[in-house]
Structures are given as structure tokens and as C-alpha cells.
């Protein structure tokens, strides 16, 4: 679905090198030397090492990584606050890196705005004047400036603070001013560098929620830098993980958590509370062996159980609609009674979930019967897969990584 969306920003072979001897460093980089090696040979720091990615229109794109990994540098290459050493950045298909200084100013004034960790407000101006600053730089008249600034101020919930000076406001309020200032220019892209990192946790959560609400309403493309994985997961449609200027992985939170591309990413995501992110869709065993109601009798059911080594199977009708589960012990008795169908032993009062339900939400479904959980399409009731109780428990408790892999292997092999 996402791939059909128009691309807003495209980054192509982007390299950023700090220092004097850029040519040599670039050469070494192309030949595959690592950051440390280049630093010791040329005294150059590699900020960004050949980055390639696309950001879609209206996407909330998060850049994340540890301190010094190059997040801020990457973000600043998008509006050329830092001049890329080589490579291209396209915005709306336009090559930003080729633009003249004048054209670049225009891009900054109309297409992209930025929000900073330390706010970057002008202390000698009131909130209103700060918010209107971008329009002033653009040369708009006072009336337009104040009307638009007032709108932005209302949007971020700063009404009544227009005449105050920034120093009189709390950190959270100051960042609202920063956000309003960025919104006043009505840009298509918002660049945010650790915008909430300086705020205390409660305010931070509040601002995150409001930003999500805003983005839902205004449909801006947001590029958000953070070193906080929980924040990245909460906000990001997609996340890129950086290390030493290299993009280690790009994907949705769930893709990154379930399928870390490198050991670094794996170590990084270990701390995360996975049970709020991992969904039934990820955990389920797709296209499970099933019993077709009306076609498979108890004998057929037992044969399938034997061949898969499972003691419980889902039952579906011709349209693949999920009906319930049958257990091996019941099937044996049913066969002994020489019944033709599994109707008498079909358990219909069993847990079912839709694909986006998280592990946390599945925890209450775990019962003494150890019945698996059926994952179904909520509208058509078709069976999509099943999740074993074991995998939910392991995912929730996370006491054994190996067991998860084993379980997955097991499920894949069957």
C-alpha cells in the first residue's frame, strides 16, 4: 500500500564528510573503508555514509540511532543547513543539492520548516513575533503575518500567550512556539531534531500525542529525529536506524523488531517492550493445516494431526470461514464412534482475533484449555492463521530468545 504513495523526499547516495581532506576521505569511503579508518588516515569524520531512502508524502518518518550516529547531520542535509559532500536529495522530484542559494532560500521559506531540540527562539521577541518570524523573513506584510501567526498559535494551543516573551514560558510551551513557528510558513515537510528530548516525560507524551493529532489533520510529511526507541515506535510510520553514519535498517516498527537486519539493530531493539508492538499478524502461523468441515471426517482429521504432529487443528468451511477447533483426544473418540463428521467434537467457543491485535491484548485470551488463538479477517471471518499460546507467552515474557526462533522454525517446517 505504502509503495503506491507519491515520494516526497528521495535521498540518493548521500555522503557527508566533516573535515578538510574530503576528497581522500570520499575516495576511501567509496572503496569501502570504515569510519574509524578514515578518521585516522585523513582526520575526516564521516557524518553520513552513502544513504539511500525515500520518504512518502504524508509519512511520519523517524530517524533514530545513538548519539553521534549522524541523525542530525542527515536531517540537515535535507534542507542543506549542512552541505552534502556528494549525492542527491530530491524534494517533490526537484534536486535540492543542485539549487542556487536563492532557490534554496525559497525552499526553506515555503516547503520545509524545522523544529529544534533547544527551541532556537529569539529572546528579544514576543511569542507572536517569534511565530511570525518566518513570514517576516519572506517579506510578508504585518497584517498577513499576524493573522497567520495567530492561526498557528491557536493550532498548537498557545492562545493567550501571544504577548509573552519566550523566557516566561515552560519548556513544553517554548517548544509549542517552535512548532507554531514552523507551521506558520505552511510547509509541506516538517523536520524535527529531537524536538521533545529536552522535555520532561509527561509533557513529552502530551506533545507526542498532539503532534500525531496534528499530523493526522494537516497531513504534513514529518521527518523526526530521536534517540528514544519508544518515541520512534510510537510516532513513526517507518523508522530508519543509523549507526556511524550508515543506515542499518529501514522499516516499520514491527518489521524492525521482529526482523532486525543487523546485530546492531537487534541489540538496539532488545530493550523495547515488544508486547505492545508485536501483533497477531506477525506471530501467527499462516495457512495452517486445517480440517475442512463436511469433507474431512474424524479419520481424515487424525491423519492430518499425525502428519503435522499437532494435537489441535482449526476447522473451516468451503469459503474458508473459521468454525472452531478440534482436539486429538476428541477426534479419537469420534472415530471410535464411527461418526462421519467432526460436528459433535467441534469447539466453537474459542478465542479469535484480528490481524492487528497486539501480544499485550492477546494475553487475557490465554486459558487453561491451552486453545490456540485463531487469527481471522474480521469482516469475512476467514481464517488467516493461528497463534499458539506458547508463542504469546514467550513473546510477552521474553525469557528465551532461542525458544522463539525454534518455535518459528517449528511452525515454518510444519
Amino acid at each position: 500500500m505504502k509503495e503506491n504513495r507519491p515520494v516526497k523526499i528521495k535521498v540518493e547516495d548521500l555522503v557527508l564528510i566533516f573535515g578538510k581532506n574530503k576528497e581522500n576521505a570520499l575516495q576511501m569511503l567509496k572503496e569501502g573503508s570504515i569510519k574509524k579508518e578514515i578518521l585516522s588516515k585523513t582526520q575526516c569524520t564521516v557524518g553520513i555514509n552513502q544513504a539511500n531512502f525515500e520518504i512518502y508524502e504524508g509519512e511520519f518518518f523517524v530517524i533514530m540511532g545513538l548519539s553521534g550516529s549522524g541523525k542530525s547531520t542527515l536531517l540537515r542535509c535535507l534542507n542543506r543547513l549542512i552541505e552534502p559532500t556528494s549525492g542527491n536529495v530530491y524534494v517533490n522530484g526537484d534536486n535540492i543539492t543542485r539549487k542556487s542559494h536563492r532557490e534554496l532560500l525559497d525552499v526553506r521559506r515555503t516547503e520545509m520548516s524545522m523544529v529544534f531540540q533547544k527551541f532556537g527562539l529569539l529572546p528579544h521577541r514576543t511569542v507572536l513575533e517569534n511565530v511570525a518570524f518566518g513570514l517576516e523573513l519572506r517579506g510578508e506584510d504585518k497584517e498577513t503575518r499576524e493573522t497567520k501567526a495567530q492561526q498557528a498559535i491557536d493550532t498548537v494551543g498557545l492562545h493567550g500567550f501571544e504577548r509573552q516573551s519566550p523566557a516566561q514560558l515552560s519548556g513544553g510551551m517554548q517548544q509549542r512556539v517552535g512548532l507554531a513557528r514552523a507551521l506558520t510558513n505552511d510547509p509541506e515537510v516538517l523536520l524535527m531534531d529531537e524536538a521533545f528530548s529536552a522535555l520532561d516525560p509527561l509533557i513529552k507524551t502530551e506533545m507526542q500525542d498532539e503532534l500525531l493529532g496534528l499530523q493526522n489533520k494537516l497531513k504534513k510529511t514529518v521527518v523526526f529525529v530521536t534517540h528514544d526507541l519508544d518515541e520512534a515506535i510510537k510516532l513513526g510510520d517507518r523508522i530508519v536506524i543509523m549507526k556511524d553514519g550508515i543506515i542499518e535498517q529501514i522499516g516499520t516498527a514491527e518489521e524492525i523488531l521482529t526482523n532486525p537486519a543487523t546485530p546492531y539493530v537487534e541489540a538496539f531493539v532488545k530493550k523495547v517492550d515488544r508486547k505492545t508492538i508485536i501483533t497477531a499478524g506477525t506471530l501467527m502461523h499462516e495457512k495452517p493445516t486445517h480440517v475442512r468441515f463436511g469433507k474431512d471426517g474424524p479419520e481424515g482429521t487424525l491423519r492430518k494431526m499425525r502428519s503435522t504432529g499437532l494435537d489441535v487443528l482449526p476447522v473451516v468451511d468451503e469459503q474458508n470461514t473459521f468454525l472452531g477447533f478440534v482436539w486429538v483426544a476428541d477426534a479419537v473418540q469420534c472415530a471410535n464412534r464411527q461418526e462421519k463428521t467432526v460436528e459433535s467434537i467441534l469447539l466453537t467457543n474459542v478465542p479469535t482475533v484480528s490481524i492487528e491485535v497486539t501480544v499485550e491484548e492477546m494475553l487475557p485470551l490465554i486459558t487453561a484449555t491451552r486453545s490456540p488463538i485463531a487469527v481471522i479477517d474480521w469482516d469475512s471471518k476467514r481464517l488467516l492463521g493461528i497463534v499458539s499460546q506458547n508463542s504469546v507467552v514467550i513473546e510477552a515474557t521474553r525469557f528465551n530468545e532461542q525458544e522463539i526462533t525454534k518455535l518459528k522454525e517449528h511452525a515454518n517446517n510444519s
Binding site: L81, F116, G120, L121, L122, G134, L137, R138, R181, N185
Partner: protein
Amino acid sequence: MEKTIDIGQYVAIAVKWLMANLRPLFDFIKTTGNAGIESIEWVLVSVPFYITIALFTAVAWKYAGKRIATFTLLGLALIYLMGFWEETMQTLALIISSTVIALIVAVPLGIWSAKSQTAQRIIRPLLDLMQTMPAFVYLIPAVLFFSIGKLPGAFATIIFAMPPAVRLTALGIQQVPGDVLEAARSLGATQKQILFKVELPLALKTLLTGVNQTILLSLSMVVIAGMIAAGGLGEKVLEGINNLDIGLGFESGLSVVILAIILDRITQAFGNKGLN
């Protein structure tokens, strides 16, 4: 000990060369400069003393508070009553013109040295030299270029009083936080917009401290410039010294101190208000 290295000789040669070849320029500077200083002086002297005192007191009241206003009123009245009003106004005229010229030169230099490493490397040692050289030494080229009078007095004063304004302008601009600059740039500010809408306003408080220092240094130099017939309180102080007239020396000295305190407190108050 015998003199083995004679730097002074080269400086003298350079000065002589300048005198020989740039005579018309110096004359032009002298005529226009003198005219400028004298017209300021004329205004200050011809405005009735009570109006000047009232104005100063009002400004002090508005910016520096009641105590300074009272001091201004009483101090200026005392100067008038001691009979030094005209000399004080002459000195003030010289201070105003020197300070204005010093700032016109110093602020751009300060901005330049804040922005360019090269400029800083050139300007720094020059400022050190200008500040540590004994003040009297400036009188020599001043007299050589412009002979004696008000303009050479102002010339020496400008050189002597300029360094703190350069330094503090540069400091003020360098102190502007990086994130504020980045924010302005991210919104599409040009270099010029950044200078006038961000850097100078944020540097204003520090810059005004520089103005204050420049004014006080000009005042001290203006007195020394009395030695080259720059007029004003300096000449009175000198007269007191030459005639060993303790009364005259004390009274004219006191007038200088009063003027210094008033100018200092008022410009300091401007500096503090600069932020709000």
C-alpha cells in the same frame, strides 16, 4: 646599552612618508572634522544650561532611576556653579564625536572579526597593541598628522577608546546561540537578515557594554588631549597642574568625575534595558 635594533626609526620613516604624501587628505580630514566637532560644541554651549540639565536628568530618571537622576541634577548644577559649564560642554562634544566615530569603525570591525578567522587573527593583536600602548603615545602621530587642536585630540581619543567596542561587539555576536542561528537559517534567512534580525539584537546588551567602555575611555583620553590644545576640562586640569593651582586642579578634576559617573550610569542603564 647601545641601541642595536631601531624599530622606532622605521615607524618614524613610515609616519614621515604618510605626512609627505597624504598631506591633502589629512588637511581635508582636519577641516571637516573640526567643523563637525565645533558644530556639536556650538549646540551644546548655546543651549541654555538649565535645559541641558533638565534633559539629562529626565533621561537619567527614565532609564536609570531616581537616585541617578538626583545625582545628575545636583552634579551638573555643581559644575555650572563652579564655572566649568562651557568647558564641560566642550569636553562632552569631543566625547560624543569621538565615540560616534569610534563606534562607526568599531562595530563593523567587531562583526567582521566575529565572522572571519582571518579577520580575527589580524584584528586581535592590533587591539592588544592599541590598548596597552600608553595613551600619551597617540598624541605624537595625532600632532604630526593634524598638528594641535580638537581634531587631533579626537583622533587620539578614537584610537584609544575603540578597542573595547570592537572586542565586545565580536563577543556579543559570537555568543549568539547556535540553535537560534540555525533556526533563522532553516526559515530561509539571508546573511543580512541574520545579522540585523538575530545577531545584532542578541548582541545588543554586550555591545552596549562596549559603548559604555568606549565613552569612559574617551573621557579619560579627552582629558589627556588637553595637552595638545583640545580644549575643555582637560585644559583646565592641565592649567591646574602647570600652575600648581590645587583649587583649580581639584574643581576641574571633580567636574570630570561627575561627568564620568553620569555618562557611565546612564549608558549602563541603557545596556540593561537593552534586553527588554
